[in-house]
Symmetry: C2
Subunit: 243 residues, 2 copies
DNA sequence: CGCGATTTTGAAAGATCTCAACATCTGTGG
DNA sequence: CCACAGATGTTGAGATCTTTCAAAATCGCG
């Protein structure tokens, strides 16, 4: 078994209580969820679910980062989703998923047994309402991502990616600079952006040479000029959403 | 005004009654919907909604084909969604959309006033449940599309596109051939696939030269060898979903 | 029949990928 | 604490694919 079962935290104490699929649930519904849930953890790099695998549970991501990816016959792969805390895995009413789910960092899932969860979706409105919101949010992200994959240059892709990291880190940016940690390897970034890892490396170093970024460490970089970074994304002033 | 208001058909007679957002509604809910709906029609090529425009209604597509697209500052555009009969436009709880919606063919919408519709989503489960399913379906499509945009070659993109048309036309394919009508111009196909129109033209003619396709008419083509077409998509045996 | 829109075709430029070599980091064990 | 091995990242040169720019061909419609 590539997972371990922990003792479940009480829902009312849960860090993602107000953002996850349970966000709109009342006390009764929470109690029902409590009865069908269990925690599982995965180490960074482990596969959480394989494409086509029979699903026995659906889950909320409690902690860590996971990625969804698809692979062509000859091995080319494309990341098609990035799951953060409170994101949802699986879909009620379908038995398997169309992509692999991999732990990017160490991951904790709050898993719900599939049948009782689906019952809850059918019989009460709050879970479906929240699931709808989550799906629509993911759809917005997916559409920005499609624009990036279909039309942006390598440099624009990298700039957009870094800008997304900045936005997500939500650290107070002072004088137009920001520092962020890179949670992925060059190879993972390449699969995220539809590039090769060499191109990722080159464009990152090109942005460094141009004074937009700086970095020594591989896992940590500093945006020296946020507005130059935004210029490089190709987006118009307000910009996209991606995460 | 770029639309006209028709008399609404009764919901119970509606051709998309069992697939649209109202699919799970009971008679009472249908009656409520009936009270907030009106039909609008758009001619092929007209813009239905602009990005950022304030939404006054959400809608189901009753007839025709519409496309969602995003544009970069310098004018590069990428189609990010294709709406067919029973697909939904807009999202409860948000006032504007992040993309343009354009009528690809003549289009009929069944529009619901935004406030009362959102009320219905909040107070009853059936609409949200169906909206969740529709959003998750679109998400599956979007993810296959991302794989295509990020990793497929021009030839694979075209082959995948044609295969999608075949699958959608669901005409009885006999001896391994099929004939489909092309609903878009080369330029629209290019925006769909993240290519230039010249590349679309070249790849289409290359598949013709290789005996996979044949066509004289611009709007109509024949797949001479379905299995060769599938070979050319780059997908593995079972293939993706796109529509 | 003729005009504008759409499509095809060609040639050259440009971007990204591929392949290969080398550099650097990380963590392990001596 | 250092050396080493494997993983990760960088850099270079050439190949390849797609785009760009331009011109010619074809279609559809009045």
């Amino acid at each position: 078994m590539n997972f371990s079962v922990d003792n479940a935290v009480r829902c009312s104490e849960c860090p993602i209580r107000h953002r996850a699929v349970c966000a709109k649930c009342d006390t009764d519904e929470l109690l029902t969820l409590e009865g069908m849930k269990s925690y599982r953890t995965f180490k960074a790099g482990e596969t959480i679910l394989w494409r086509g695998e029979k699903l026995e549970y659906v889950a909320s991501l409690v902690q860590g980062v996971a990625s969804l990816s698809k692979t062509l016959e000859d091995g080319r792969t494309q990341m098609v989703g990035l799951l953060l805390a409170s994101d949802f895995i699986g879909r009620p009413g379908r038995d398997e998923i169309e992509f692999d789910v991999t732990a990017t960092t160490d991951v904790t899932l709050c898993c719900f047994n599939k049948e009782p969860f689906e019952q809850l979706v059918e019989t009460t409105p709050h879970v479906a309402q929240r699931l709808m919101e989550l799906a629509l949010d993911e759809l917005d992200v997916a559409r920005d991502w499609m624009l990036l994959l279909g039309r942006k240059t390598a440099r624009e892709k990298i700039a957009t990616f870094v800008e997304m990291l900045v936005r997500r880190s939500q650290l107070p940016e002072d004088n137009g600079t920001a520092s962020v940690s890179l949670p992925m390897t060059r190879d993972q970034i390449a699969n995220f952006l539809g590039l090769t890892l060499e191109t990722v490396s080159r464009q990152l170093n090109s942005l460094k040479k141009d004074g937009v970024l700086s970095f020594n460490d591989r896992k940590h970089l500093v945006v020296e000029d946020l507005s130059a970074l935004h210029e490089a994304t190709g987006d118009d002033s307000d910009g996209g959403i991606i995460f």
